[in-house]
Symmetry: C2
Subunit: 201 residues, 2 copies
């Protein structure tokens, strides 16, 4: 993975949303550093204070939380051009609530909190960009919340397949179950049922 190429990918992402001068682009590029993550390696680990966030250049990450009954709950899968991190922990010394783990060999452009603050000073336009990104994220999470409380596991599963075509090839089934908020056994049974239904038609 080429560092310049990775940073160009990030700049393309930003340029699609706001316009930056050459100088500003340079400052943005300098603030991030490229890092490789091997499969199963952690970018963030729950319980540890953490003051960095990252842009996914390539690969896949799962962002999840482990509850007090030791159950894992996937919040989302981080693919190319997504951001991963724990905003509460990024902005203070609060221990991270989330885990971010590579599901395959992957590359991140990571940034430290101090660097990001400096970047906001140097390129104030970014305040707006990240305000809007955060708002979008909030909207997506709201939808996910209402789907979780208002729809059956089967509806949630079908919605996921539709919204994220090909996800079954990318992510093992027990982690899809974790995303849906059910156990792997339940997903297995549900898939069998759905097959029956479709054969019946």
């Amino acid at each position: 993975m080429d560092e310049l190429q990775a940073k160009q990918q990030l700049l393309n992402y930003i340029n699609q949303r706001i316009s930056l001068t050459e100088d500003e682009q340079q400052k943005v590029a300098n603030a991030f550093q490229l890092k490789q993550f091997k499969k199963k390696e952690y970018f963030l680990e729950q319980g540890r204070p953490n003051r960095q966030e990252a842009f996914v250049v390539s690969g896949t990450f799962r962002v999840f939380h482990i509850d007090n009954k030791s159950m894992e709950h996937v919040l989302y899968f981080g693919f190319k051009d997504w951001w991963v991190g724990d905003s509460a922990s990024f902005n203070s010394d609060i221990p991270s609530f989330l885990n971010v783990q590579a599901m395959e060999d992957s590359w991140l452009l990571q940034i430290q909190w101090e660097e990001k603050e400096k970047l906001y000073e140097d390129v104030p336009k970014l305040e707006r960009l990240f305000r809007i990104i955060t708002m979008r994220t909030l909207t997506v999470l709201q939808k996910r919340f209402f789907l979780t409380v208002g729809a059956s596991a089967e509806e949630r599963y079908l919605e996921l397949l539709e919204r994220h075509q090909g996800i079954e090839q990318l992510v093992p089934q027990h982690q899809i179950a974790s995303y849906l908020g059910i156990l792997p056994e339940s997903l297995s049974r549900m898939k069998k049922q759905l097959l029956m239904k479709n054969k019946g038609i």
Copy 2:
């Protein structure tokens, strides 16, 4: 309710987070307008495009969504000094996903999308303020999400009581049930059970 007093309340809220010049404070104050909402009146109605959001000056609102099975799900209760609105609908012509309804006679300082955009131009510091507010909101919703998928209804109930003392006096029980993601009947039974347990001790 005095308009000047209401706007001073908003400015106090902002001044606790960032510092504004007299001139900037004036611009902020001018962008908002005070409006009364009688009990049960709607500030936002699901399905209608809506391009305004608001700061709660006094009273209580419930922010909820009605799913395709006609079930109401409360996302949060908006008390004094909270923001209410639907960010996706505020920022585009997408119909609102949320309802915002007054639970008692209440006052809001509302702002139109165009006014807010103008305000961001005039007072760029606000980009940062609202970026941070949105991030905090996201963190709170994340916690709520994991509590919903990871904890029992009883745990969620006890957590709510602890985090929001006195809420049982402010909000009818069937709406607390809706916030918890269970039916009123289930909450009633749960409370009975909790009473038994406590008597047992």
